[in-house]
């Protein structure tokens, strides 16, 4: 068996085994459907309520995309400011670390109160979740350049912007993508958490409704849809990484 095939087959086998054990446990112990549904029931709901789920996936997807985009763009911009103005970094980086330790999920209700009930608070929460990991990685990537390469740029009389675009930015890309892969799934979590509070649409809202109605089939189906979306999002970023970071021996 080829190594590649093995890499695909092994996790797939594990997934199928878990589903089988889940089905068996639910069946043997006679667990009521409203507590834990069987995977077959979840699959059936997924097909039956596909249009409902899809309709609710769109806002969640849009919010996580927007949050991902805004949050990462802001942290890339701030990291760029930090590496060029040391005083700004010394002033704000410790502050950023403190703010980062505030659990975003816990402040979600505050943001909803402040920003109203439309898409805005969800996008903001998703953006905030993406912001800090990317900021930390980006600062590291932009500043951890080979000191001799930096001296080379000075020998060549390179300007600050040339040093940035020809050296620092490239140097930061592997660090950036490592953060983006985390941010992709984190932004989905952010959007869903935002939808938990007083929302009428989105996967988060669907989860809350299904829970209140003891409709566990729909609950699990909604979670599955969010999972699939989150995985696809991460895979897309990995794909992009392989296109962009062609030089790194670890990737590819």
């Amino acid at each position: 068996m080829s190594e590649r095939l093995k890499q695909r087959l092994l996790p797939l086998t594990a997934l199928l085994s878990i589903l089988a054990i889940w089905a068996a446990v639910v069946h043997w112990f006679d667990i009521p459907e409203y507590i834990v549904p069987s995977p077959v029931h979840v699959a059936r709901t997924l097909i039956r309520d596909f249009s409902v789920i899809l309709r609710n996936l769109w806002p969640t997807a849009l919010e996580s995309f927007l949050g991902f985009f805004i949050g990462n763009l802001a942290s890339i911009a701030l990291a760029t400011v930090f590496v060029h103005w040391k005083t700004v970094e010394q002033t704000f980086f410790p502050l950023a670390i403190i703010i980062r330790s505030i659990p975003i999920v816990a402040v979600a209700p505050i943001l909803v109160l402040m920003l109203g009930n439309d898409m805005t608070p969800k996008v903001v929460i998703a953006a905030l979740i993406c912001f800090f990991p990317t900021l930390v990685n980006m600062v590291k990537g932009l500043s951890s350049v080979n000191p001799q390469a930096l001296e080379l740029m000075k020998v060549l009389s390179a300007s600050k912007s040339e040093i940035f675009f020809k050296l620092r930015l490239y140097n930061s890309l592997p660090y950036l993508f490592a953060a983006l892969k985390i941010a992709a799934s984190a932004s989905v979590i952010g959007a869903i958490v935002g939808e938990w509070i007083g929302s009428t649409e989105g996967i988060g809202a669907l989860i809350i409704q299904a829970t209140y109605n003891f409709d566990t089939g729909l609950l699990y189906a909604a979670i599955t849809a969010a999972c699939v979306f989150s995985v696809l999002f991460t895979v897309a970023i990995s794909w992009l990484e392989r296109r962009v970071v062609k030089w790194s021996p670890e990737i590819g």
């Binding site: 001799q148 080379l152 000075k154 060549l156 009389s157 020809k166 890309l173 030089w247």
Partner: protein, 258 residues
């Protein structure tokens, strides 16, 4: 002595570093003169200020005292004109650029594009350092010795009048180092550029240099400007000659009392 505009002149140069723990004098009152087109080896114990001296000549750090003149100009002027090349111990290639793109870097930054003076092409230079087949390889696909060749090609792409090399072969095995030493001498003869070459190795210093500047440490200062009586046309077998062996013993004795 040659006219000032035709030589490298280091006059009474000192460098002091201020830190929290006080002032370190890295080099003190170093003076020497070198004719255009010469090859100078700089030899000395670790920490004696060899890298610091090269950095002053390259205008990467300012001297605390004294003057450097390169062919009648200041190092800053020479650097801006792209008449100065620098080769680092770690090849310092940019990993996201192929060998050829690395060699072309100097023409893309600063005034490089405007100053393109019909010098050698990247392909010619890669050919010159024996990497004709490796133009499109990324640094991680090359061995340490090959990377260092790319970095030498990069330093030559501006056709510099002076080339500063800071232990470029320090991390390589002996066989590779020997081969690159031979190649460097060939390149030096073909290009006629002035070379300042820092090394820890007595053999390397003697084999490459027409002159060997020996530094003493704490603070770094000139111990001796040595001019061995060896033929300019030389192969690696020169290292077995009586004069070479005698000079090597002399340099070793000097270093041991530095």
């Amino acid at each position: 002595m040659s006219a000032l505009s035709e030589s490298v002149s280091v006059d009474n140069v000192s460098v002091r570093f201020d830190s929290d723990r006080g002032t370190v004098t890295a080099i003190e009152s170093i003076s020497f003169e070198l004719a255009r087109g010469a090859f100078l080896s700089i030899l000395g114990p670790s920490g004696c200020g060899k890298s610091t001296l090269l950095r002053v000549v390259a205008d990467l750090i300012p001297p605390s005292g004294g003057d450097v003149s390169l062919f009648g100009s200041t190092p800053a002027e020479v650097r801006k004109r792209r008449d100065l090349g620098f080769v680092f111990q770690d090849a310092a290639l940019l990993p996201w650029r192929t060998a050829r793109q690395n060699v072309e870097l100097p023409m893309e930054v600063g005034d490089g594009a405007n100053l393109a003076k019909g010098g050698p092409s990247a392909s010619d230079l890669l050919e010159l350092v024996g990497l004709g087949k490796w133009h499109d390889s990324y640094p991680h696909e090359l061995s340490g010795g090959m990377r260092q060749r790319v970095s030498i090609a990069r330093s030559l792409v501006t056709a510099p009048k002076i080339l500063l090399m800071d232990e470029p072969f320090g991390a390589l095995d002996e066989i590779t180092r020997d081969r690159l030493n031979e190649e460097l001498l060939r390149i030096w003869r073909e290009t006629g550029t002035t070379i300042l070459f820092v090394t820890h190795s007595i053999q390397e210093a003697l084999y490459l240099g027409q002159k060997v500047l020996v530094l003493a440490s704490h603070p770094g200062r000139v111990r001796e400007m040595n001019e061995p009586d060896l033929p300019d046309e030389r192969g690696l077998d020169i290292r077995e000659s009586a004069e070479f062996v005698r000079q090597a013993a002399h340099l070793r004795a000097l270093l041991e009392t530095c």
